[in-house]
């Protein structure tokens, strides 16, 4: 067995050139093969790649999909984000537990199954959903969960769980998924017929500077949520000194409630790859990396195949489309389960084969990014827009949307509405109109921008989706009258506690404290002073955190404090007895009562 381990690990390391920079691929491959990256495996990898064992450990222990301890042959990861919870994930969870005889976080004694929770897997429009190894299973019921386990016990082959195929390319033989696209509104920019190669040919007929000018003229801003002007980012990268430059496509769509990049990569990956190629031409890069989140691994073969096709058609490779000297190729870098890797510098750390720790800025990626080379990091949707801008011209693009936010936006809508799915809407659309489109008019609250976004109350449904008002990477989660917004906020805080990389103090510690105090308030043990405490703590996390994750992680509390103050006020009351309401003597002596065998006089007086 250990000989086998040594041989296999060595072969895997050699396959990736024993390069330190491919450590992510190496540990992923070892994990897949052995169900874990054990201590001995880490020693072997370290030796092959020329790093210390503790460096390998630092990577393995960072990502949710990697582990030192052996996992089952089949790992079932049930999505437990708020939308899946509302759709019945807790019942599904119980069904899995009963059928497997284990709890979440455990592996069956025969080593066949592990049960885990996953943060949002990007299937909120078909919740509850789970990943069975790489295979997504959606619209789960308790019956479906039991059937899945029984079927797996027969064949242990997750791909055979796909009894029905989804729409569009989900039915493609290389995808073979039950996932649905649920595209409910096609707009004039993204979901339009595409002609493979057209945009690239048009771009190559221009100079790189003209391509950048076209993107600037379109006033395209980054679709990941931050809204940095794309043309400007390209210009900085082009101007930065360095022979090697990189184009990175951020397909680590981890924000709870978003799934539009999944649909784009399923239906219009050509547009995305074309956008990357055009960016490469514009900034003078020869290499592109698509960083694909581990949850979307089921799309990998399909995307790799498409890259091959593009190479065959000379849309990638040497002297692309006959343009002498323009060489560009793309590789796919798989993630391994870490929300923070959607933060562009954390993504770069991860792509370099390290923990997904964000980097210090400055320098910015445009100056020093991937492997310290000037790097453009763009969102999937941004790159798809680029292709359209080159196809139809910047003016056609910027006639849609609003002056500060040109073009259209893909929204991923989920929660309490009639038709959850993907909607391409013009920027500037009112939230109330969005709700009407999805059939969610009776919402009491809408979370715009995912867990890191804002919880909006009814009074503000007249606000608009755009960079200057409600900026969003695309997540719109709708909560109906029966929902408790504070419990939703608590769920988001759980998410941030889990997903903080732990690098900086305010995010690592502050979110744990914020969640503790929020739960105290929800339990009716809060006082008015606790609301000030939440505000002050939340503001500290927001101001002092190092990256975008921490800077937005307090938003669930801060925006509900602002927009749902009455809900908080109804829960807290001022105490005059000087006692701390959260201290429960009965609970504190309970254990001793059991051990000693008598009841406390004081606790039950």
């Amino acid at each position: 067995m250990s000989d086998n381990l040594a041989t296999v690990v060595r072969d895997i390391c050699r396959k990736y050139g024993r390069e330190r920079g491919r450590l992510m691929d190496i540990v992923r491959a070892v994990q897949e093969k052995f169900g874990c990256v054990s201590g001995p495996a880490m020693d072997l990898i370290a030796k092959e790649v020329g790093v210390r064992r503790v460096q390998v450990a630092s990577v393995v222990t960072f990502y949710a999909f990697l582990s030192e301890q052996p996992k089952g042959q089949v790992v079932i990861r049930l999505c437990n984000d708020i939308i899946d919870q509302m759709a019945g994930a807790p019942d599904v969870a119980r069904a899995f537990e009963e059928e497997l005889g284990i709890s979440f976080g455990q592996t069956t004694p025969d080593g066949k199954f592990s049960l885990e929770y996953a943060a949002c897997i990007g299937m909120c429009d078909q919740a509850p959903a789970a990943l069975v190894n790489d295979v997504p299973v959606t619209e789960l019921s308790t019956d479906a969960a039991r059937r899945i386990v029984r079927d797996l016990r027969k064949h242990m082959d997750p791909s055979r769980l796909v009894h029905r195929l989804g729409d569009g390319n989900n039915a493609h033989e290389l995808v073979h998924a039950m996932v649905m696209n649920n595209i409910h509104l096609r707009g004039p920019v993204i979901f339009t017929p595409a002609n493979r190669g057209e945009a690239i040919r048009k771009a190559l007929a221009m100079t790189p500077a003209e391509v950048i000018r076209a993107v600037k003229t379109s006033r395209l801003r980054g679709r990941g949520g931050a809204g940095f002007p794309t043309g400007m980012k390209w210009e900085f990268t082009r101007a930065a000194p360095g022979d090697r430059k990189y184009i990175v496509c951020n397909a680590d769509e981890g924000e709870p409630g978003t799934f539009k990049d999944r649909v784009l990569l399923t239906e219009l990956p050509d547009r995305v790859f074309a956008g990357m190629t055009i960016a490469g031409y514009a900034v003078g890069a020869a290499e592109g990396i698509l960083y694909l989140r581990a949850e979307y691994a089921y799309l990998q073969r399909f995307l790799e195949d498409l890259l091959d096709k593009r190479r065959a058609e000379n849309l990638l490779g040497q002297n692309i489309c006959g343009k002498a000297g323009f060489n560009f190729d793309i590789r796919i870098q798989m993630g391994a389960g870490a929300y923070v890797c959607g933060e562009e510098t954390a993504l770069l750390s991860s792509a370099e084969g390290s923990r997904g720790d964000p980097k210090n800025r400055p320098p910015f990626p445009a100056q020093k990014g991937y492997l310290d080379c000037p790097t453009v990091v763009n969102n999937v949707e941004t790159l798809a827009c680029v292709t359209k801008i080159l196809e139809a011209g910047p003016a056609t693009f910027s006639e849609h949307g609003s002056p500060g936010s040109t073009g259209t936006k893909l929204l991923s809508i989920s929660g309490d509405c009639k038709v959850p799915g993907v909607f391409e809407v013009p920027f500037g659309i009112k939230l109330s109109e969005v709700l009407k489109l999805a059939g969610g008019e009776d919402a009491i609250a809408v979370q715009v921008g995912g867990a890191s976004g804002q919880m909006i109350a009814r009074e503000e449904f007249g606000r608009t989706i755009c960079f200057d008002d409600l900026a969003t990477g695309g997540s719109v989660m709708i909560f109906g009258p029966e929902r408790n917004v504070l419990e939703v906020a608590d769920k988001f805080m759980e998410f941030f506690v889990e997903e903080s990389c732990g690098y900086c103090t305010p995010c690592r510690v502050g979110n744990v404290l914020l969640k503790e105090r929020l739960e105290r308030v929800i339990a009716g043990q809060g006082e008015p002073a606790d609301l000030e405490y939440l505000q002050d703590l939340g503001q500290t996390i927001k101001t002092m955190s190092r990256c975008g994750l921490g800077q937005t992680s307090a938003n669930p509390v801060l925006t509900t404090l602002k927009n749902f103050r009455a809900t908080y006020n109804a829960l807290v009351k001022k105490r005059t007895d000087g006692l701390q309401p959260a201290f429960d003597l009965g609970a504190a002596v309970g254990e001793a009562e059991t051990i000693i065998g008598r009841k406390s006089e004081h606790a039950h007086a």
Binding site: R53, S58, T61, Y503, T505, R508
Partner: protein, 235 residues
Amino acid sequence: MSATIEFVIDGKEIQGQPGQTILEAAQQAGVYIPRLCYMKGLVPHGSCRVCTVLVNGRPQSACTQPVAPGMVVENNTEKVTALRRNIVEMLFVEGNHFCMFCEKSGNCELQALAYRLGIAAPKYPYLFPTRDIDMSHPDVFIDRNRCILCGRCVRASRDVDGKHVFDFVGRGPHKRVAVNAEVRLADTNLDVRDKAAEACPVGAIMKKRVGYAVPIGQRLYDHKPIGSEIENGKK
């Protein structure tokens, strides 16, 4: 002289050099910016966030932010100090800091910073984590109860000693410092003379048999707040 970069900290004119960070330039000018994960000679980490200043109103870590002409920096103001106090309090409740018997007490940067910021008790609840102690090495021990994850040992061992004895494992609240061995520090090549053995600002990585050597009253921060030496012009 054209290379001098002029900017302002709390109304005071500062002259920095190109390539300097705000923290370094301030220090040279006798302005102390509180810090924990920063250590002279190590690559800045920007993780503790204690050195956060407002640069033209925007929060930036002074240990990583380069000086720029004309920047207006807020350092020793009520607002910034309150935020720093919160960070230091977070570090106290995150670990198990038993100052009363800690060998580092009196020379501990975390403790000294709390004194300087006037913290009598943290407003946050103590988390009382379960952490381990590694006494395996003949000359150096690790008490993770006291670790504040500043990464000074990691950087000192990697960049100065060239050994990479330490690195971070785990994520978020589960993050901790691990050693380059299966478990034990004794199984690494750490030497008591390594920079990493003296880089810890708290009592998490300590040399054995030298604790309590300096009597109370003569320790680094018994009489003067941390940073006084910088403010008094001694660098």
